[in-house]
């Protein structure tokens, strides 16, 4: 079998969103034996998430502007020789040599079926996307407060809403898309509360002018929101959530330029749910575990450092899409295709593949969209004053229930100056999610104790990218080429 120890695949792609799909089908079309592993049951990633067949959606694209682009990729996947492994949760990737990789995955919808697998490949393309960034605020753990991306995901796949009257808040272009989806699906969105000022985009006229499709998208959302009488509140944030066991209202306050809430500006807005998010965090842990270098993006996240051919700083490991910095599905698709061409050129010793007109065109589009993405990121970078809306009893780490007061104590009294030290002192970031939800906040609070106030690079270090039951490890068949295998004897 291809991928077995005796015959590895040419390419293993992790993640079946736009980047991974484009990478996998392009590689297969160029003649590489390709395996595509994805945690979900259906390809599409977060952006093209859609209902399972049992829901019988006759208009599955109603929540996507670009559905035909996805169905085109899906058709290419079906027509290709790509081995698509759905419900495969990759927990680590190991490297024996630049052309000898093993991808380890748990299987099942929740990684729960107890049959772990190992896949060998000569090259790996990481297209693991991003998760939402969260900045805590008083009351954000109350049921009814959900991630903006989470509300979008539950709507796209499960056709459900968290409430009927949903305030959308946080920062970033996703908020408008989420508000647009929620209203289209029948929810009333009284306000979209954006911490940044949209004028930030005006500082990057060149990036905007060369990406007209983004302006069209914004206009589409803007028109839909105006039709539904959604009020847009820039330079504002939700600074409190009211309710005992679920959301009954939120307080919206005006922010100063550094996102510090302005005293006395709070207004109470009744609602039964709040969808909130502050941009996206690249999912880099599979790569950083292998020593890949990262870069700080303009909105303060750590993304993989990639060369012009999408290769990480560890030879043989490529990345595409949000892992290299948030940029949207079109950029992800282009990067996936570019990476697949580069992998083929390397494995087949065909350098000519990388000089053709198609590749030059892809690279140009990639650079243009990446420039736009960085401009957007800069406009939505959290202002340092956001910590001003935290009360001492605001929970920062949802898993371990660690409050802002305890984190500040670790910084002010015990001398913690980075997220790792705070974690060791308070358990913030030590729970189930491994700091995915609180990481950005803890890093910012810890940085407050540094002379320059700057957040040091703290790329995700999670040796196990998903929780792995010990029983699953015990169930692994012996690796014939492993440390005790024939190669070492």
């Amino acid at each position: 079998m291809t991928g077995s120890p005796s015959e590895p695949y040419d390419l293993a792609v992790v993640g079946a969103g736009p980047a991974g799909l484009a990478g996998a089908v392009t590689a297969a079309e160029l003649g590489l034996s390709t395996v595509l592993l994805d945690a979900s049951g259906r390809p599409g990633g977060q952006y093209f998430r859609h209902p399972a067949p049992g829901l019988g959606a006759t208009r599955p694209g109603a929540l996507h502007h670009d559905w035909p682009a996805f169905t085109a990729l899906r058709r290419r996947l079906a027509a290709s020789d790509v081995t698509h492994l759905a419900h495969h949760h990759v927990w680590t990737v190991t490297r024996r040599a630049a052309d000898d990789w093993t991808v380890h995955a748990l299987t099942g919808p929740d990684g729960d079926d107890g049959k772990p697998v190992r896949i060998r490949a000569r090259a790996v393309l990481l297209a693991t996307g991003a998760h939402e960034r969260h900045l805590p605020f008083p009351g954000w753990t109350l049921p009814g407060v959900v991630g903006a991306g989470g509300a979008q995901a539950m709507l796209k796949a499960g056709l459900v809403l968290p409430g009927r009257r949903v305030v959308v808040a946080g920062s970033g272009p996703l908020l408008l898309a989420v508000a647009s989806s929620l209203t289209a699906a029948g929810a009333h969105v009284p306000e979209v509360v954006e911490a940044a000022g949209y004028l930030g985009y005006a500082r990057h006229p060149r990036a905007l002018a060369t990406n007209p499709h983004k302006l069209v998208e914004a206009a589409v959302h803007g028109t839909a929101l105006a039709r539904h009488r959604v009020r847009l509140r820039p330079r504002s944030a939700v600074t409190a959530v009211h309710g005992t066991d679920r959301v009954e209202a939120v307080t919206v306050s005006r922010l100063g330029p550094d996102w510090r809430p302005l005293p006395g500006t709070g207004r109470r807005v009744p609602c039964d749910a709040l969808a909130v998010g502050h941009g996206l965090v690249p999912q880099t842990e599979l790569a950083t575990g292998l020593g890949c270098a990262t870069r700080r993006t303009p909105d303060g996240t750590d993304a993989l450092l990639l060369d012009a051919w999408q290769e990480t700083t560890v030879p043989g490991l490529w990345a595409a899409g949000e892992t290299g910095g948030t940029g949207g599905w079109q950029l992800a698709r282009v990067e996936g295709e570019l990476a697949a061409v580069a992998v083929t050129a390397r494995l087949r010793a065909r350098p000519g593949l990388t000089t053709g007109r198609r590749v030059r065109d892809l690279a140009r589009r990639r650079d243009r969209m990446r420039a736009f993405a960085e401009a957007m990121a800069a406009a939505h970078a959290p202002g340092a004053g956001w910590t001003g809306w935290l009360t001492d009893d605001t929970e920062v780490c949802r898993c371990e229930e660690v409050t802002a007061g305890r984190v500040r104590e670790a910084v002010d009294d015990l001398g913690a100056r980075d997220a790792r030290t705070v974690k060791l002192l308070t358990r913030a970031g030590m729970g189930w999610c491994q700091g995915r939800m609180c990481g950005a906040a803890v890093a910012a609070l810890a940085a407050a104790g540094r002379p320059d106030g700057a957040v040091p690079p703290s790329p995700a270090r999670r040796p196990l990218a998903v929780p792995v039951p010990l029983a699953a490890l015990a169930a692994l068949p012996e690796d014939p080429d492993g440390p005790d295998g024939p190669e070492d004897h």
């Binding site: 067949p53 049921p143 029948g186 679920r246």
Partner: protein, 104 residues
């Protein structure tokens, strides 16, 4: 204008089935996760936290935050936002921790 998500997507689902949540019947549609079925019934919390016993439910919706852990058919720590609902599933509020499955 669509009034529900199902209207918007033109959903013509297979027949609904029943699961239970803390003993109470909850309808689910084929293809929905347990979290989606619970949201559909207006239920937003199905776990209480270990320290302060506060209610929690789905937050990230994509299997990353582990806030939606529930006990499903007696098995603890299942991510409700990833676990498909099956006819007859018994979902119960997970109180505190359940160390029997998460090994990290």
């Amino acid at each position: 204008m669509a009034r529900t998500p199902a209207d918007l997507a033109g959903a013509e689902p297979d027949p609904p089935f029943e699961i239970t949540f803390d003993g109470r019947p909850v309808p689910a549609l084929p293809g929905q996760t347990i979290a989606a079925a619970l949201w559909g019934a207006g239920i937003l919390a199905w776990r209480t936290t270990r320290r302060t016993g506060r209610p929690r439910g789905a937050f990230c919706g994509i299997g990353q935050c582990f806030d939606c852990l529930a006990t499903v058919n007696g098995e603890r720590n299942r991510r409700a936002c990833l676990t498909p609902a099956r006819p007859g599933d018994t979902v119960t509020t997970q109180e505190g921790h359940g160390h029997d499955r998460l090994a990290v």
